[in-house]
């Protein structure tokens, strides 16, 4: 029977073994950095952990307050009550539709704006780019935008949640920069083969710009999921209410102590108002939290690929 030497085993796996060995100071520094980063990540994770643990604790035991490193008993009663409320499903539906359609429309419009601006032979390219860039520095403002939305008869329509913020200048420039970095020979050869502008865009450019498209889709998606101001200002009907506005409404219900009553209406079994708020926060964050790990790599990638100057 062969007994393996643990030290040897460790050495084999040590990534520094074949490189420059670290000094004692570096090792200590590394440990300190690790501890510091670990503490930092705990600080960042804890607020959400607190919300999550509070939300699944037994309502009566959660009321004591303090830190929640683990749930005080397990109860999903508040979740079941919150999810029974019809308005949360209406809000969910609206937010999902807004995120899906809003993102799709935004990406298509951004691509269709970015492509011509990336073509060097386009006359007035710099002028149009500057015009769009200008909106990044000076926005139209809430009131003029409201008046525009109103004059377009979009008030209290679903389109008011999508169209006003459909194209972000920042995202468009990321895409334009990426398209500029593509070899112009690809477009030229397609043109020689008889392809027209739309064919070149949809068959050549966009497939090649997939990483950048994914990144801006992510930006648009998160932005659509989180936005609430457009819903507040441009809609009046509760049937168009989005999740974030609903969440905010529930979170603001602290003065009259009726959050639980409003959302759940349950009086036969005890429900804590704070817990209802925690549940709503968790419910609104969980979907994006599930999706985020799969998409977060596009954040960095999207910005770096777009940063390549053409």
């Amino acid at each position: 029977m062969t007994v393996m030497n643990p030290t040897r085993l460790f050495r084999k796996k040590d990534p520094y073994q074949n490189h420059i060995s670290r000094t004692r100071g570096e090792k200590i520094g590394g440990v300190i950095i690790c501890i510091f980063l670990f503490a930092l990540s705990l600080i960042m994770i804890y607020p959400f952990w607190h919300v999550l643990m509070y939300s699944i604790s037994e309502p009566e035991r959660a009321l004591g307050g303090g830190l929640f490193f683990y749930p005080r008993g397990i109860s999903f009663f508040s979740y079941s009550l919150v999810l029974r409320n019809a308005q949360i499903w209406i809000a969910y539906k609206n937010t999902i539709l807004k995120t899906l359609f809003g993102t799709l429309i935004s990406v298509v419009l951004s691509a269709m704006t970015a492509y011509p601006l990336s073509v060097k032979r386009l006359r007035g390219r710099n002028f149009f780019s500057m015009m769009i860039f200008f909106t990044m520095l000076f926005g139209g403002g809430t009131i003029p935008t409201y008046l525009l939305v109103k004059s377009l008869s979009l008030i209290d329509t679903f389109w008011a949640l999508i169209l006003p913020g459909a194209v972000s200048a920042y995202n468009m420039f990321i895409l334009r920069n990426y398209m500029q970095s593509l070899p112009s020979e690809l477009e030229e050869s397609a043109r020689i083969d008889g392809a027209m502008a739309f064919t070149i865009l949809f068959r050549i450019i966009l497939p090649l710009a997939a990483p950048s498209l994914a990144a801006i889709a992510m930006f648009y998606g998160v932005s659509n999921w989180n936005s609430y101001m457009d819903c507040l200002l441009y809609t009046n009907s509760t049937s168009l209410q989005t999740l974030q506005l609903y969440l905010r409404q529930v979170l603001l219900q602290t003065s009259s102590a009726n959050a639980a009553m409003t959302v759940t209406g349950e009086t036969s079994e005890y429900v804590s108002d704070t817990q209802v708020q925690m549940v709503i926060v968790a419910v609104s964050v969980i979907p994006i939290l599930i999706v985020y790990p799969y998409l977060q790599r596009f954040y960095t990638k999207g910005i770096t690929v777009g940063a390549v100057k053409g």
Partner: protein, 498 residues
Amino acid sequence: MKRTMSLTLALVLALAMFASSAFAEERNTITLMMAGDNTVADTNMVLEELENRLNLDIQVNYISSGDYSTKLNTLIAADTLPDIFNVAGQTALDLRDAGKIIDFSPYLEEYGPDILASYEEGELEKLIINSKGGVYGLNNRAGLSIVNMLIRKDWLANVGLDVPETVDELYEVMNAFTFGDPDGNGENDTYGFVASLAADPTWQHVFSAFGIPYAKTVMLEDGTITSFIKHKDFLDAVEFLRKLYQEGIMDPDFATMTQMESFERFWIGKVGMFNWNSAGAARNWYPGRYTFETPEDPGDLFACVRIIDEDTGLPSGGITPYASQTEYAAVISATCAHPEDAIRFINYVYYTEEGQDLTCLGIEGVMYQWIDKENGLYERIGEYADDVTHRAAGAFVYNGNGGWTVDNTSIRTYNAFAKASQLEEREYQLDYPFIPVTLDAYTEYGTQLREIEKEALANLIVTTGDVEAEYAEYVARWESEGGSEYEAQMTEWWNENR
């Protein structure tokens, strides 16, 4: 044949169209924007019933209270105001002066008789917005409940003490409620006093015991109207609180605790004495919010504490609640096509018993029924016993206060203890110089001055340094950061108007 059939069909169709338009009930439309924190569908039973009773098409834009001003400011700037909305302070006066809201006094006699009847002679003119003549706004006089200091009788019995009547007895009870195991669970897990800096009422009675109206204005001996922190006995009250804090009788989280958390301490039995109005604590919260066993009658559980004032020898009550004269529950925009209908709506919903009951309790016989109407006893029927269903059907949503009159559905449905304790508290209420207008200095420095007051209170309670010196520093800071200007304006206003 085909031709005849076609002609006949066309004729029938045309007649049907004429008939439908001739017999269709033409309803005027009114739009209103209101703040509230319920989640309700755009169409619901109560709204439909209201539309039928008033023969109106009512479109409600229901905004979360925290977002109301944002939305209103946008609509004001875009000049797209709804017919009826609520607005406060200088914004209201600006709208009046700009002609954006109307003087609806010409409509009151015919369409708003109950509104007129509810105000005493000259009362409407007292509202700042109406002070130049005409009626531009109405205020909400509901919800003016006075704060009680409720104490649990079962805890008193457990520690063998009576309802305290002096500051010393108050301390003794608080001490026993902390260390005497008042809940009998054998654990040291209770506090004698819980208050939150985020909830002014939670401090009221402790300060009232020293004759100080907490977070309000006071008049100094020289006639100056100023902040309560400059009251001659402020340090005495602070010393009392310091003692509670240092001895572990007061919940140490008072500076960071939210209002809701302070409620929760009371609901779960971590504290047996709490400052809040009995309408909330002994009716709205009762018994559903309390996690411990509660008797059927809240009067069997709670008593009210009123400390005898050493100077006057009278019990000290909660602070006198005043109806705002700068917040207008309803104004009517100049673009309103049917102001008479707007007045009719306001009159019915907020000033008549029938309208108040409908919008607060729901449809009688369908959603609720009276058990003893004289004594305000009712029960919700069937599925409407559930709050979600009740509110989803529109009850309570458009009329959370029970009406804008002093006597309203909410008051009429108080239980006996809430009624009696509110009335009794009024007899001993602590009055203060109420400034109903928004002074310039308040607009400029008000928020900042209030923050200084809170910071002063928090630090003076926990400090281990020289309390008097620190107090003097806070007062000096309060005065130098706009307080002197504010008190000069308050004093001037008081001398001119009272």
